[in-house]
């Protein structure tokens, strides 16, 4: 009797507490990071398009898509380990290595090309898997493990391509770096891309379509799988995840393998785009560091547990768009690096603003 009163009353104030916290606003706040990134990107990009002599045309879109694709994929790759609260410093190296492999294999008859592409994707995944093994069975911190493996992968890349060069299938290279119509035309599909039903999409750049496919067919299923969920769980609280009987090791291996796969796809595209391979150490480094920046701008927390590869794609786009604008405006060439640095610093520091909202200082530490 007293009990009844007790429970019902007990629930009441708490319910209020909950409501106070879990309105629409809270949901938004969960995605604040990614939304911020999106806003930043739209602002910068529309500004660029609006001021471009040929703004809002197919060519510009294609050119930008081509430029952004590799970085976008490498950033997606970086996201997965970061969700597990680990960094992967080898994404740039894996991209480079796969690019070098592609410059040897992706050429010749359709069969050979298909085979080459499969090998490229497989070896990207294999590199990732190797990282996973070092982390899981070697029990070495991801950031260091991948720092080491990246050196090894660069070594292999240098062996495959002591000096830049190689060849990839020209039509394929042209097709994947153009819009849908060109793609169809190159391979004589859909009556050379003139099919009526195709026209609404004819202007879409192929890289964007590839990106969308990768997200829909690989990333989304991953996040909705138990393994994917486990990755988030590990980033959030590894011990607890283990106690809950989750497959920790499998998830870690899967995560790094997926990272390798994405990075590999990036490398494959870069090879197609440049129809060559180049074991360029500074370039690999640049991609790795940019991928980290992209991940953060995309609203993924470096301490793990929350974020999304889609955010990282947006982050990558933000980074690219910053430099787009230098081509439109007259910035003294020797001041460009400075501006670039400042904008990057500002972009990543935006996250610091949420501190102003923070009321409980303890929330800083997690």
């Amino acid at each position: 009797m007293a009990d009844v009163a007790l429970t019902s009353d007990a629930a009441e104030p708490l319910e209020k507490a909950q409501r106070r916290r879990w309105g629409f606003g809270a949901r938004m706040r969960q995605h604040a990071g990614i939304l911020g990134g999106l806003a930043l990107f739209l602002a910068l990009y529309l500004f660029y398009q609006a001021n471009h002599p040929r703004g809002f045309t197919g060519q510009i879109l294609i050119q930008n898509a081509n430029e952004a694709f590799a970085l976008a994929l490498v950033s997606m790759a970086q996201t997965v380990p970061v969700l597990m609260a680990g960094l992967d410093l080898s994404v740039g190296a894996v991209m480079t290595l796969v690019g070098c492999i592609a410059s040897h294999l992706v050429n010749g008859s359709p069969a050979e090309i298909a085979f080459g592409i499969v090998i490229c994707i497989a070896s990207g995944a294999a590199c990732g898997f190797a990282n996973g093994c070092v982390v899981v069975y070697g029990r070495i911190q991801p950031i260091i493990a991948t720092l080491a493996t990246s050196a090894i992968y660069m070594g292999f890349a240098l062996i495959l391509r002591p000096t830049p060069g190689g060849k990839v299938h020209e039509d394929l290279s042209w097709a994947v770096t153009s819009d849908v119509r060109e793609f169809a035309a190159t391979f004589g599909l859909f009556s050379d891309g003139e099919a009526v039903w195709l026209q609404p999409f004819a202007w879409i750049p192929v890289p964007l379509i590839l990106l969308a496919l990768i997200i829909l067919l690989v990333w989304v299923p991953f996040t909705r799988s138990v393994t994917g969920r486990t990755v988030y769980a590990i980033g959030s609280a590894e011990g607890a995840a283990y106690m809950s009987g989750l497959p920790i090791n499998r998830a870690k291996l899967a995560a790094f393998t997926l990272a390798g796969l994405f990075a590999g796809l990036g490398g494959l595209f870069l090879a197609l785009q440049t129809s060559s391979g180049n074991a360029d150490i500074p370039q690999a480094g640049a991609y790795t560091l940019n991928s980290i920046a992209a991940v953060v701008i995309g609203g993924t927390s470096l301490v793990g547990g929350s974020g999304s590869a889609i955010g990282s794609v947006i982050g990558a786009l933000v980074l690219r768009t910053i430099s787009f604008n230098f081509r439109i405006f007259d910035v003294a060439p020797l001041l460009q690096p400075l501006f670039e640095g400042l904008v990057l610093l500002a972009a990543v520091s935006l996250g610091g603003l949420k501190l102003l909202r923070l009321r409980n200082k303890l929330e800083v530490f997690r």
């Binding site: 960094l87 070092v134 070697g138 029990r139 070495i140 911190q141 950031i143 260091i144 493990a145 720092l147 080491a148 493996t149 990246s150 050196a151 090894i152 660069m154 070594g155 292999f156 240098l158 062996i159 002591p162 590894e238 011990g239 283990y242 106690m243 920790i248 150490i281 560091l289 980290i292 920046a293 953060v296 470096l302 020797l334 001041l335 460009q336 690096p337 400075l338 501006f339 670039e340 640095g341 400042l342 990057l344 610093l345 990543v348 520091s349 996250g351 610091g352 501190l355 200082k361 303890l362 800083v364 530490f365 997690r366």
Partner: protein, 327 residues
């Protein structure tokens, strides 16, 4: 150094686990020397690597990396990282030579300190991940230096004092640079083992939340650590300029990754909270000798890269392994 209760031992063992890195790294240093000597024996029939002047020269060259690593270690112990080292170092060197005269060195150190403080502010007070903020700072410093060189055609000649510190040898034997390195090392050891600052650094590296609730001003500690790291980079820049008698664009680029590797090979936990300076010291020597011997053996770049990677993994497999998760 001896009684470092601050360095936690997982399973109740005491000093053993943190001696391991030092011992193994030292062993590996010997191995490198032996391999190198084997090579020279075969090619020249002489063993120059075992002669004191070679080793002293390596220590002289190594002291630049050593000083960078010493500063970086403070930051890594916090569980942070400082990617702005390359262009902090360069900026310090370039500004020092640009100013020249008696003010050269103070200015160089000042620049380092300044960049460090900005890093500290960003990381501690804005709570931007150090990984990213220092990356941005690195880009900014590069931008500044490009504009500086392009715009002002600065003087780039190192002052005599800078050259003295970097290349002079006391009695023609002991490199002054080495003494500078040792001085810095002594300072870091004292900070880490004997001061409240050091204790706070380890505490924050382990669990900042608890440190904060113990009334430690964690933001201030982070700020100081980054400032010190910056200053160390600045000092290294000044010395390096002295060594090559001038400051030039990009002179800091070859120092970041080796420094990180040295700290980690020395047994410092990259996530912070654990590690002793002696390890870093040995780690630096290991990296420097490895570089030198590979260069002597005319190892092609590919081989170098693969060997670096393998060495780091191998060393960590021996002693750098984390605990298996069980709740």
């Amino acid at each position: 150094m001896s009684k470092t209760a601050t360095i936690p031992a997982p399973q109740g063992f005491r000093l053993k686990p943190d001696d391991k890195p030092v011992i193994f790294a030292a062993g590996f240093v010997l191995l490198i020397l032996l391999v190198g000597t084997g090579y020279t024996m075969l090619t020249q029939g002489s063993a120059p690597l075992l002669q004191p002047q070679y080793l002293l020269q390596q220590l002289q060259v190594g002291s630049f990396l050593g000083i960078v690593a010493a500063g970086l270690m403070l930051v890594i112990l916090l569980g942070h990282i400082d990617l702005s080292v390359p262009w902090t170092l360069t900026a310090a060197a370039m500004m020092a030579t640009a100013v020249g005269g008696p003010w050269a060195i103070p200015v160089g150190l000042g620049i380092g300190l300044l960049v460090g403080i900005v890093n500290g502010l960003g990381v501690a007070y804005l709570r931007v991940p150090s990984m990213i903020f220092t990356l941005g700072m690195n880009a900014v410093m590069r931008g500044l230096m490009v504009a500086h060189t392009g715009g002002f055609a600065p003087q780039t000649a190192a002052t005599d004092l800078m050259q003295y510190l970097a290349v002079a040898r006391i009695g023609g034997v002991i490199p002054v640079a080495l003494l500078v390195w040792l001085a810095v090392s002594a300072l870091v050891v004292v900070i880490l083992t004997r001061t409240t600052l050091g204790r706070a650094i380890y505490a924050i590296g382990n669990r900042e939340r608890a440190a904060y609730l113990s009334g430690i001003d964690t933001n201030r500690v982070i700020l100081i650590a980054f400032a010190l790291s910056g200053a160390a980079a600045g000092l290294a820049g000044v010395l390096l300029a002295g060594y090559s008698t001038k400051a030039y664009q990009g002179m800091g680029d070859p120092y970041l990754l080796p420094a990180i590797a040295a700290v980690v090979i020395g047994g410092t936990n990259i996530l912070g909270g654990r590690g002793r300076y002696l390890g870093t010291l040995v780690g630096v020597i290991l990296i420097v000798l490895l570089n030198s011997v590979l260069s002597i053996m005319q190892m092609p770049e590919a081989g170098r890269q693969i060997i670096y990677g393998t060495v780091i993994i191998a060393m960590l497999l021996v002693y750098g392994r984390g605990e298996r998760v069980t709740g």
